[in-house]
Amino acid sequence: MLARRLPSILPDLSFEEALEITKIHSIAGILPSNTPIIKTRPFRAPHHTISGVSMVGGGRIPKPGEISLAHYGVLFLDELPEFQKNTLEVLRGPLEDRIVTVSRINATLTYPANFMFAASMNPCPCGYYGSKEKECTCSSNSITKYMGRISGPLLDRIDICVEVSPVKYKKLEQKENIETSEEIKKRVDKARKIQLERYKNLGIYSNAELTPKLIEKHCKLDEKGKQILENAFNKLKLSARAYGRILKVARTIADLADTTNIDVSHIAEAIQYRALDRKYWSN
């Protein structure tokens, strides 16, 4: 439910982005006849029975797959561990390179695949591991097996992991004062505008696309921030890939807060979003 709301807070499309999305949908042959140009960001949520080929694209003359159809939008995989292992592993390359090259005997084609990857899963087969309300009935073996379906390298490419606790009945009824999607979207748009302005001559649109060289330039830390990150690396045993990704997330948090420099609290918050792997995948 939460993930389905994701498109409602995504920033508006630029004209160039809209053109690219339309082109891909047109090539795939799924552009509706009454739609000359796609104006909203795509949200793709394939079922977990999907094959690796339809994920990345294929055919005699390769057609774009789900990851390309989600270009500049969201690819959402519900119940992540239920997907076939090879379907998930093919995502690794595109998540890093933002393009995918599909080779067949008749043609070799490169499609763009710059998407936001979102996924959801249970903490264990019974769904109650770590719950305060009900005790988990899974054996530690079955939990390890369940978690093991998601490989370390794939997990490493997920920047933000959040655990959600079960909602109590009382809360379902009561109406709380919460931020609406429109309000959140305003913040997102503002942050995106800052990024567009910052990267206008670089041919990229967002923090996610920063290369290591650009990270050095745009994600500078002060002494204290550096110290915290170093401390986190030693204590939490993060990977080299995590380093760049934490900096990018911290940059985004700083943009959302409308501050020019990344400060300590931004970096600490970004580290917290990396907390999941060491809790569930450490043993």
């Binding site: 903490p123 770590g130 305060k132 530690s140 655990e163 204590k235 600490a268 580290i271």
Partner: protein, 288 residues
């Protein structure tokens, strides 16, 4: 398979003295790793496989601090409490002994911790020939060696029906001490240990309670190091986190701070080593 395996008979001087005094001691021990530690003073730390986070924390902490005093930590290499006990001893640079209920060619449950113990100067022993397969009675007999090797047995967690009660029974038979920590009476992970406490086990709440029974006079346990300084701005948050786990959402609600602010504070506290994060978005105070 294992070229460096040693076979130690009961007449051998390396054979652990403590073990000779039990009823029906094993006539031969098959030993991998450091056989010289077998005659050091030992304490066994055991408990459930399917343990709570609290139990794991306690097992590791006690193993660490007791191993530091040069006392061997003996356990059964099972998942849960047993593993934590071995790992705690290794972390402290101390000695640890794992007792198996099968031969070295049939290691249970996994080779990871097995290798880790060997790499860290520990010992792994069994009374069974390398080809002996895993069989239910093996675990029961293994518990007899665990209890027999040690001056005392510390049972961290045991449910109502538990293999650890067999070890306790052996310890009682051999007139060795049984130590337990108290659990909430409604906690099903502690029914077995609470029952032992009611009967004859010694209630302990810190490492010294055990060490006193080992007649160790000089204890190098620097308490200073464990006093963590909490910066003022995190104090409110830190006070909410106790030994009972609390979720980030709850903290955010109580303190009226945004979740991103709370996430920042939690990271800082975790890096300081003041708290620990648990599955389910929960946090507890770290025990040192």
């Amino acid at each position: 398979m294992y070229l460096n395996m040693k076979i130690i008979s009961i007449e051998n001087e390396l054979y652990p003295e403590q073990l000779k005094h039990i009823k029906k001691p094993p006539q031969t021990l098959y030993v991998l790793g450091n056989e010289k530690i077998l005659n050091n003073k030992s304490l066994s730390i055991i408990g459930s496989r399917n343990a709570t986070n609290y139990g794991r924390e306690i097992a590791r902490k006690f193993a660490k601090n007791i191993a530091k005093q040069g006392i061997n930590i003996v356990s059964g290499m099972a998942k849960g409490i047993d593993s934590e006990a071995h790992l705690g001893a290794i972390e402290a640079g101390g000695n640890t002994i794992a007792v198996l209920g099968s031969g070295f060619n049939h290691i249970f449950p996994d080779k990871k911790i097995f290798q880790k113990i060997l790499d860290n100067n520990g010992a792994i022993i069994t009374e069974y020939k390398p080809d002996t397969e895993i069989f239910p009675d093996g675990f029961r007999k293994r518990n007899r060696i665990v209890a027999g090797l040690s001056l005392g047995t510390f049972i961290v967690e045991a449910k109502e029906k538990s293999g650890t009660s067999i070890t306790a029974e052996y310890a009682r038979q051999f007139e060795r001490k049984i130590f337990c920590i108290p659990h909430l009476i409604e906690d099903k992970h502690g029914i077995g240990t609470n029952r032992l406490l009611k009967r004859d086990a010694i209630l302990i709440t810190d490492v010294f309670d055990i060490l006193n029974h080992y007649e160790i006079s000089e204890i190098d346990y620097d308490k200073e190091n464990y006093e963590i300084q909490i910066p003022k701005q995190y104090q409110e948050c830190y006070n909410l986190i106790g030994t009972e786990a609390i979720s980030a959402n709850e903290i955010s609600k109580i303190t009226n701070k945004s979740i991103s602010e709370i996430n920042t504070i939690l990271t800082m506290l975790e890096l300081e080593g003041a708290i620990k994060s648990l599955p389910g978005n929960l946090f507890i105070r770290a025990i040192n």
